[in-house]
Amino acid sequence: MATDVSPLDGVPLLDVENLQIELITAHGVIRAVDGVSFTVGEGETVTLIGESGSGKSTTAMGVLRLLPEGLAVLSGSVRIAGRDVVADPRAARALRGRTVSLIPQDPMTALSPVHTIGRQLGDALRLRHPGLSRAETRERGTELLAQVHVPRPETRWKAYPHQFSGGMLQRVLIAVALAAEPRLLIADEPTSALDATVQAGVLDLLMELQEVEGIGMLMITHDLGVARVVSDRIHVMKEGRFVESGPAGTIVDRPAEPYTRALLAAVPRLGAWDEDGLTGAVAR
């Protein structure tokens, strides 16, 4: 896919080392991220999980260098496909929308309400391939909408965001992210604003795309269920640090740290259920 970046030869897609992020606020300087290290490889999903204020979204935005310059001070290193965006902020600009793209949290506000879906998706496509003609852009864009399972994509090209449901908008945003032909996707709570059945469809789609395209994914979520379903590895974050890291199954089934245990204990249980609908009752 991405022809302008050399093969990685064992270098992780994303390699974060001792990242610290200090935010300058009205109440002084806050160390929002306090020395985290992690990697994301091809075809892998790595999840940062934590409660509000844990620093998980700040980490993601820092990796993308999308925090306001002058108000956020980064140190450590963040290598995306080998290029350190902490040392060289211009590298981040070159990588965003090409090697790495973002799926934002709130599908209702992430798109411009006064431009059509086609226009916005087209912009993302032409950022990646500046020479695309109008017809080529539309053809490629329609394919992308089909790939993210937007029904009748050719008829939706000229539609505006308000004509879509939240779940369909999130699919459009995934299509915009995919227009970059990224090797790394950063998904910041991509399903938190969605209904559970819609969330299931979007998570399925992300896993399907990963299987087909081998994209690496950094997922940010507060939902342990979501993390357990999509992740290879999970880092549990609290007050800017990782309190526990490991394979998804281990973190959820055998958490070692009291904080992880407390977080899991706080999740209300659903209990067993008769999934196949074969019998009328289930032992509780």
């Binding site: 209904d195 059945t197 379903v229 290879d232 394979p247 209300p268 249980r269 659903l270 259920w273």
Partner: protein
């Protein structure tokens, strides 16, 4: 003979005017809630559950049907005749940021419903507010602070204290914990359970999270497109849902502890299909 229910809703219809004519948000909904009982209404966005909640506290006026509260039909009661009944049904809102007046102190917020209902004198209302603030687990130093100084969980505690001030028989909780972090949500659910055990108050809980519903309700009503699609004891409905829509909801609800294996791909696809079928 069985005691008559605290709340008896019959064939309730609520409509919103739109440019294309009236939109029926709640379509002939019927259920009963016994005194001290706990009933949850679940469903996804747009199913009509919040509209139902607003109609029950008469923030909206239904088109037809009955809302019988302890023997009195309040569905179409005039505001004047409704007023004395208002204190008996209170509501806790979803948004802990938008539902409290930022200019008032916690004590004023909690005492407000008493003042509006003309209950007690100033000193008595202040005492009651202090009692309630203590009861919902906030320190007495909270009394003179204002909403912007509190966290989301603390604000929701203030919202609960305010709702309890007039000693209502029924508390309608509209997604009262869905904006909270999971650890804070667990504390608020604990508080609600304790309060029910102590006071015998009845709960009508509006929620989209099935696991929350399982924690707080004994009966559940599943809504879709304004109608009830399934109803029954919460434990039974969640353990063996009969309706395809309830099954889709159940499958999509991710309990981390019951997910097995390494990154189960396409685990959810059937959900997406069932969920989008109309």
């Amino acid at each position: 003979m069985a005691e008559p229910p605290l709340l008896d809703v019959e064939d309730l219809v609520v409509e919103y005017p739109t440019a294309q004519g009236p939109f029926r948000a709640v379509d002939r909904v019927s259920f009963q809630l016994p005194r001290g009982g706990s009933l949850a209404v679940v469903g996804e966005s747009g199913c009509g559950k919040s509209t139902l909640a607003r109609a029950l506290v008469r923030l909206l006026r239904p088109v037809s049907g009955r809302i019988v509260l302890d023997g009195t039909d309040i569905a179409t009661l005039s505001e004047r005749r409704l007023r004395p009944l208002r204190r008996r049904v209170q509501m806790v809102f979803q948004d802990p940021y938008g539902s409290l007046d930022p200019h008032l102190t916690a004590q004023q917020i909690v005492a407000e419903p008493l003042r509006l209902s003309g209950i007690g004198d100033r000193a008595g209302r202040a005492r009651r507010a202090a009692e309630l603030i203590d009861r919902v687990g906030l320190p007495s130093s909270a009394l003179h602070r204002r909403p912007p100084e509190f966290s989301g969980g603390q604000r929701q505690r203030i919202g609960i204290a305010r709702a309890l001030a007039s000693r209502p028989d029924l508390l309608v909780c509209d997604e009262a914990t869905s904006a909270l972090d999971v650890s804070v949500q667990a504390q608020v659910l604990d508080l609600l359970r304790e309060l029910q055990a102590e006071t015998g108050i009845a709960y009508l809980v509006i929620a989209h999270n099935l696991a929350v519903v399982r924690e707080i309700s004994t009966e559940v009503v599943v809504m879709r497109a304004g109608r009830i699609v399934e109803t029954g004891p919460t434990a039974a409905v969640l353990a063996s849902p009969a309706e395809p829509y309830t099954r889709a909801l159940r499958r999509a609800a991710l309990d981390p502890t019951t997910i097995r294996g390494v990154k189960p791909r396409h685990l959810l696809t059937t959900t997406a299909r069932e969920g989008t079928r109309s």
